[in-house]
Structures are given as C-alpha cells and as structure tokens.
Subunit: 348 residues, 2 copies
C-alpha cells in the first residue's frame, strides 16, 4: 500500500482576472489549498520544494495593456498564482545543487510552500550575516539590475555626471549610491517632495527634484547639469528621455532599465530628440538583468562589504503575512511604500 503523505495547509494569492496596468489589492484573492511537504515521486529530477519566507513586490509585476499585448513583461492569468521573486528555505529537493535546509532566492510563487521547477533562476544564499529579506532587494534581482545597468551598461568613471529618473525606486536608490561611491555627481528625479528630500539627506544624492513640479524638464536638467550628463539611467522614457537627450555630453550613455511612462499608452510617444545621438555620439542601451546573472558572485564581492560597513543605505517596508501581499503590491505601485516593499510570509 502506498504511504499516505501528510498534507499541510497552503495559503495562496491568485489573480482575480486579467489585470491591466498596475495591480490593485482587489485584483487578487486568497485561497487555501493543501500540499505535501515532500516532493511527489513523479516530480521532475530538478524540482525543489520550498517554504517561502519573503516575497518581493517589484515594478515589473504589472498587467499588460490589452491593446498592446505584444509588449509582454508580465501577465496575470485569471485564477493563477502570482509569480515573483522571493527568499525561500528548501524543504525537499531532487536537484543536485540544492539540499534540504538550504536558503535560496529566486523566482517563486505567492503561497506558503512552492514546488519550483524553473531552478535556473534560484541562487543559493551563502551569506546570512545580513538580513535574509535583503535577498529580495539590494542583494537580489533589483540589486543586480542596478549593478549590471550602472557598471556593465553605463561604464562609469570617477567624476561622471549621472542622472537617474525614478531615483527613489529600489534600483534607482542603489544606482545613485553606487555612483556616489565611485565619485560621480548624482542627481535624481522622483514624484514627491518627501522622496526628493530623502534622496538628498539619506541617500547622499548631490541633487534631486520632483518632476511633477517642473514645467520645463530641459531647463531643469540644464540647471542641475550645466556641464551636461554623462550617464542617464532611464526608468521612465517619454518626456524625461526627451529632456535628457538634449542634455547629454559627448559619448554619453543612456542606460534604459525601463520606460514606465510608455507601457500604458495605446501608441507610444514619438521621441523627437533622438537625432541628438548623432551630434554627441551617444549610446542608448536597454538591458535585462537576466543577461548579467553570471556576474552575481562579483556583485556580492562589491556590495556585501558596502552593506557591512554601512556605506550603503537600504530601507525596507515589510508587510507581515501572506494575506497582506495584495495590499503591499498595490502600495508599491502607488508610491506609498516607505522602502523596498517586502511581504514576510514566515520566519525561518
């Protein structure tokens, strides 16, 4: 007779329907299912069963515009589990690289326990003298996004003039601090007076402005960058990109991490100032963190000492309990999170 595995309750967060644009709390619902805490015999040979400890709320977790379904970053299928980055503890594994008790970070699901088969995107956590939740942010995907974009795509040098849009985001904050540590002049844009103040007082930016209060972004950039911009770290596209194109220095680099202003438009905005790349020999380069994960060990070598020595400021906003996940995700998109938005599912 087959052994009857003990089943435990497994709370889950699912999408209520097709989500367009930024998800709202009411776009998701909770349900309870059950799961065995041992992998079933039929599980694939690289499957890992994990207990989810922290889940990450990130800006890419948004629905596609229905009129632009080709522009697929992330989709929420009705009644399917929300997928996202998290920190997890391995409970059972058929994968040779992971064993019971390992701590990992990578792509998991919004539930208490998950079977992960896409183990390519799992990283073993070797350093636990820093908070585990950091592996959803500064030590995880957003951290690698900042590192790869700034160092590998931006190719910065000491003294460079660096401008960051959406600078208060998890990625922007880190790019700014890495740039300061390298000896660059750093200015960021954000969407509120409070964020602007924090960028300057807490994150050490040389300057910051609230883009919502600026009438003429070209004039704003000329005010902050009388010598021009060497690196523009672009998260927004649109009008800010237009203004930056007018203010780049010769051989400047525009690192395109996102164009959030464009995704919900039925037809994207035409960029009239692109021709300026000719006059100044500018490089405009978009990238994805997935192409740079091989540099993760190198990244840790640089970033861990900065964290341990307190040279980098990192703020989290931790919502407690899986059931707080939908509200936390909405809060991240509406700018209400007081730091990197994390959901604490369970303590180790």
């Amino acid at each position: 007779m087959a052994q009857v595995e003990e089943q435990v309750s497994n709370k889950q967060v699912l999408a209520a329907g097709h989500i367009t644009g930024n998800p709202k709390q009411t776009d998701m619902y909770l349900q309870s299912s059950t799961i065995s805490l041992q992998l079933p015999p039929e599980a694939s040979s690289d499957a890992v069963l994990v207990k989810n400890l922290y889940l990450s709320c990130d800006p890419y977790m948004r629905g596609t515009n229905k009129t632009n379904t080709k522009r697929l970053f992330y989709s929420f299928s009705p009644d399917s589990l929300i997928i996202g980055y998290g920190v997890c503890k391995v409970l059972d594994s058929k994968h040779p690289d992971f064993k019971k008790g390992d701590l990992v970070w990578g792509v998991t699901k919004w539930e208490e326990y998950s079977i992960i088969t896409m183990t390519d995107s799992l990283f073993k956590i070797e350093h636990t003298d820093v908070p585990l939740s950091y592996y959803t942010g500064i030590l995880g995907m957003p951290g690698m996004t900042a590192y790869a974009g700034f160092y590998e795509v931006g190719v910065p040098k000491k003294g460079d003039y660096v401008f960051i849009s959406s600078a208060f985001g998890a990625v922007g904050q880190l790019v700014g601090q890495l740039a300061k540590l390298m000896g660059c002049y750093v200015v960021g844009s954000a969407g509120s007076k409070d964020k602007v103040e924090i960028l300057k007082s807490k994150f050490g930016f040389d300057g910051a402005f609230n883009y919502k209060e600026e009438q003429d972004l070209d004039a704003t950039l000329k005010r902050f960058f009388p010598e021009g911009i060497d690196i523009y770290f672009d998260n927004v596209g649109g009008d800010m990109l237009e203004a930056a194109l007018l203010n780049m220095r010769r051989r400047g680099r525009i690192v395109v991490a996102g164009m959030i202003s464009q995704y919900d438009l039925d037809e994207p905005q035409g960029i009239k100032n692109l021709v300026n790349i000719i006059y100044k020999q500018i490089r405009v380069e978009a990238y994805t963190v997935y192409d740079y994960y091989h540099l993760y060990p190198k990244f840790l070598e640089i970033i861990l000492p900065y964290i341990r020595e307190g040279k980098i400021t990192y703020v989290e906003d931790i919502a407690e309990g899986l059931e707080s996940g939908p509200a936390a995700l909405e809060a991240m998109f509406t700018g209400r999170s007081a730091g990197k938005q994390v959901v604490l599912v369970a303590h180790e």
Copy 2:
C-alpha cells in the same frame, strides 16, 4: 634684402554664399590666387605645404538648415574655401612627421596647393601599390567609418543578419562587403532600381530593395528578415529606423552613422518605436570616425589584403580637374555619381 619667393598660380573653389542643405554646382565659384611653393618663415612649427592630388566628395559636405544651426556638421561660409578630405603630396614641411615628397591623406582645401596646419588629421600613405585615389575612399575616412561602425560599434559575428540603409553609398557598400566576408546575411536599401541590382550582382548582397517603391517598410523588412535583424547600419533615420526597430532581434545593435532624413526638417520626426529597445534589449549607438582613427593601422592590415586579392569591389567616379569639383559634389548628392566621387586635381 629678403629673397623674393617665386609665386605660382593657385586655382581655388569657394562657397558663393551660405549653403543650405545639399550644395549645388552654382553654390560654388572658382578663383585664381597665387602661392609660394615654400612655407613662409612665419608658418607655425607644424605647418605643411601640400600639392592636392585628389579631393573627395562626401555626404557630410552639406550646409546646415538655417532653422537648425545648432546641428552643425559642416558649414560653408560665403567666400571661404571648400574644406574636405584629399590625397596630397608634401612640398614643404615644418612638421617633424612629414617631409618633402611624402604622400598624405586627410583634411585639406579645394585648391591646387594648400598650407595645412591642422596636421592631426593627416595620415602618411605607406602603401602605394594601390591607386592613390583610394585614400579618399575605401582606404581613407569612408573606409574607416565603415570599419569602425561595423566592427567596433556593431560587434558582428558570423551568421548575423545585417541590414544597411543607404547601402550604395561609399560607407554602406563597404559595410556590406565586410559583413559578407565575415559570413553574415546582408540586405541593403537604396534609392533606385539600378543601385539595387548592382548591390546584388556586383557587391554580393544577399538582397536589396528600392525603398522608394516600398509601401510598408515594416513588411519589407519582415520579408527580407523573417528571423529579424542583428545589426542595422543606419544612415538615414526616420521611417527606416522605425521599421528596423520593429524587426530587431534580441540584443540587436543599431549602428547610427547618420540620419540624413532628419537634418533638413524644422522639427525632427518623433520615433515611436523606440520603446521596442526595452522588449529586445537593443543597443542604439551613434559614433564618429574621429574616435576610431587610432585603429587605422589595424584597419589597413585587414583591408589592404582584401583589395589586393580582389575580395572587395570598389568603384570610383573620377572627375578631372579642380574646376569640375562643384559639379562633382552636386552629382554625389543627387545620386548621379557612378561610384565614389573623386576630383582629380593633379597627377603626382
């Protein structure tokens, strides 16, 4: 008593007035002055006196749009000598790197004899087993432009899908042939049926089309590149760039050598498809040959054997006599030249 230097006649081509857009023959006039064939004692310590042998007609030699004077590529001041690339013989020199009898190429003036003080842009000609006139084209600035753009900016690899706009130009022709020699699939666009035929039959392009006969450039590119484009070598910008952006492959590279379609517009065309760089992690990079001249020796090592072995096809259209210069320059812009347009001023 000061020695009286013998003066010789020096025919010159000058701009008749401010030239807007493509120069016409009637925008220039000839005059005759005199010059001594020895440098005057007051000449600067790096001055070189040369006899101009060949002068080059190149697409950058156009007037700026009056409404867009900031976009300065090249200006023709009224009653000033036309400036351009040429092949010259040194008659006298104060410069330690150049001596009487040396053959050089670089920036000179449209006249029979010139005193050159901007000697940074002069290169000594070491290889004379190839036609001297080649140093105005395939072995000079246009050749280096093709080489730097394709190899250094495009970073090609065997099997890449390469698209070249304005492919019949001196630069485009060479980019296409370098790409074929590397084992790429190469398609070019040009502005006439004849040019399209020559690109295929003579320059070995895998495909070519007359952009004037295409109704939907996106569909055209999809027809020639069902797998997408790895490298787009852009000389034109505008609608062709829009179409290319829709057809780039992941991590594709758009090498921007020019945006000729945009220079004469009062307001440049907005590029709506730029947001596609995010979805495919595309790099768009503009460059100028001036940043790559340090690679000239490396370039010669590659290109000279190709020429000697007949692996590269190169066609010139040589107009005889300095007085034919204005008509030759107009012909180059109207697409009437039968090859790289050169003006023969004097035999060695």
